[in-house]
Point group: C2
Chain length 305, copies 2
DNA sequence: ATCACCCATACCGCCAGGGTATCAATGCCG
DNA sequence: CGGCATTGATACCCTGGCGGTATGGGTGAT
């Protein structure tokens, strides 16, 4: 059985995600016939049926499900090799730190100070990304280390928790629910979350009627908070964020039974760089040295109203 | 920066391992010029120098070292995708168990019995491999689960230790050292180990003068034991193996300070198959149910003489 | 029954990538 | 110090794999 090629995996993943040869071909910027042929060739090569296709429907077989999972991680590993080699070849290497802006619990400046004092420190470079993109940034080599929320998809990663805070929900101050001091998850039924919100992390406590798709796309925190102020969406945030972004038009309220939000430092499992080790050390000591009460805001005292 | 292709990674790894374009080309079954061009193109694509080359010498740059490591894991991930998809597409899927013959501590039959009783069990299929090939077999998808010795290169793997035994050294009965009841690592200085022996696992206690290359290639245990009997080599083995393969011509002796040999069950970190879980469960309960004294042979009572 | 949709097949053209021949730089040795 | 062997780089050619266009054929909806 000859070796697979990256192109074949990309094609397969596109079709498996779209479940439609035409759309997948468009996404790959190619015509549909060569794509169909390539998938057929792949199936012959693996001696396996990957798709159950009729002229009206395309579905993954069990073998296809397996390949989808493994193909994604293989593609991540390949692009990681490219990114890391490119990075290692730069004349001035840097430590690329992935994080979601405003979700660092206010620790970032102190962590960076402690990190800068380490002997093995390289100049830091922030890699900003949306909700839940940090793990993938580590896996595909765009970043060397990350600050992220647990739990997350940690395949191939190691992590160390830094601090745990209460998760609050941000509501418009005019919202009827803002009059109450604490909420139940069911109270939020039917509300909308910002686009790309962490549906995964909150799934256990989130009623299914809470949709993670907002009418309008909001990429940064101010846009999201503006949408909250107008009552278009609600938004889950760790207590530290609530404390650092008080707004008159927004009320932060605890939700009964909502899982805590844990900030962690994470890195690729096979990382060997001393700069990564230095950053992890800096992050852990900074978190340990930070007075816990200031960060574990008690749920009965919402930060703004 | 365009995506890398598997072919480029294979070429790079070959050159990085051979540090010689001609030999690498021969290994890849191609001519040297296209290989040189491909590597140059790769360097342009990554905007990085991977090799420092003169006409007489080829050396890896730091970026090249990074890429070598990542390229190997990426290639493993790609072949894993192929192997697992192929396996998942078989009409009669099986659980592929990797192990080194005769190093299972005698637990295998009982583990297989316990496993067969599990509801999620698939028919087992043994994948035999040499020393230390088990981790790679898991990573590249040739096996679903493995019995192996710790410590090992466990990147991407999870493992659960099953039992720890004393490590003994096998000597010819006629060897002067066989007259003694216990040895010191330095006593073995200058002896040869069988080809492909676990130099890594024993490195801490092994004097550097102990060479892991034998004059003759020996693939299976009987061949190795024959070489031991003739005094050609010495051989490290867990106590259970010594107990199960007593030979008049061979003396097993404890070595002071030699690390214990730990048998573990291991599996790919992202494994989701219920059959793997069933096997791990079976292995752990079997090991727990096995009377410890029978397996933790006391070092002061060598099994044969 | 017709139509629209969508995957498969047939056929064509291009260029990426491999082969051969050769050059050029380097270290060895007489 | 000058040939010589070694080895990576360059020049040039050619083949086959891959993508494009045109079209077929099967299926579900109205």
């Amino acid at each position: 059985m000859g070796d697979l090629e990256v192109r074949q995996l990309r094609y397969f993943v596109a079709v498996a995600e779209e479940l439609h040869f035409g759309r997948a071909a468009a996404r790959l910027d190619m015509a549909q016939p060569p794509l169909s042929r390539a998938i057929r060739a792949l199936e012959r090569q693996l001696d396996t049926t990957l798709f159950e296709r009729t002229t009206r429907q395309v579905a993954l077989t069990p073998a296809g499900e397996v390949l989808l999972r493994d193909a994604r991680t293989a593609l991540e590993a390949v692009t990681a090799a490219a990114h890391r080699a490119h990075q290692a070849g730069r004349t001035a290497p840097r430590l690329r730190i992935a994080l979601k802006a405003d979700l660092d619990g206010g620790l970032l400046p102190r962590i960076l100070d402690a990190y800068a004092a380490e002997a093995a420190a390289l100049p830091p470079e922030l890699v900003l990304g949306g909700y839940g993109e940090q793990p993938q940034a580590l896996r595909d080599g765009r970043a060397d280390v990350a600050l992220l929320q647990l739990p997350c998809d940690d395949r191939g990663l190691d992590s160390e928790p830094l601090l745990t805070e209460t998760t609050l929900v941000a509501l418009a101050a005019t919202d009827p629910l803002a009059a109450r001091t604490a909420l139940h998850p069911d109270d939020l039924s039917g509300r909308e979350l910002p686009d790309g919100a962490p549906a995964d992390g909150l799934r256990p406590a989130r009623p299914s009627s809470l949709r993670p798709t907002a009418a309008r796309r909001a990429s940064n925190l101010s846009e999201i908070l503006s949408l909250v102020e107008t009552g278009s969406i609600v938004f889950f945030a760790p207590a530290s964020l609530a404390r650092r972004h008080p707004r008159p038009g927004i009320a932060y309220r605890p939700v009964h039974g909502l899982p805590d939000s844990t900030l962690a430092v994470a890195w690729p499992q096979d990382a060997r760089s001393p700069a990564v080790a230095a950053f992890v050390r800096a992050a852990c000591t900074t978190a340990a040295a930070t007075p816990a009460p200031a960060h574990r805001t008690a749920p009965h005292r919402p930060a703004a109203s």
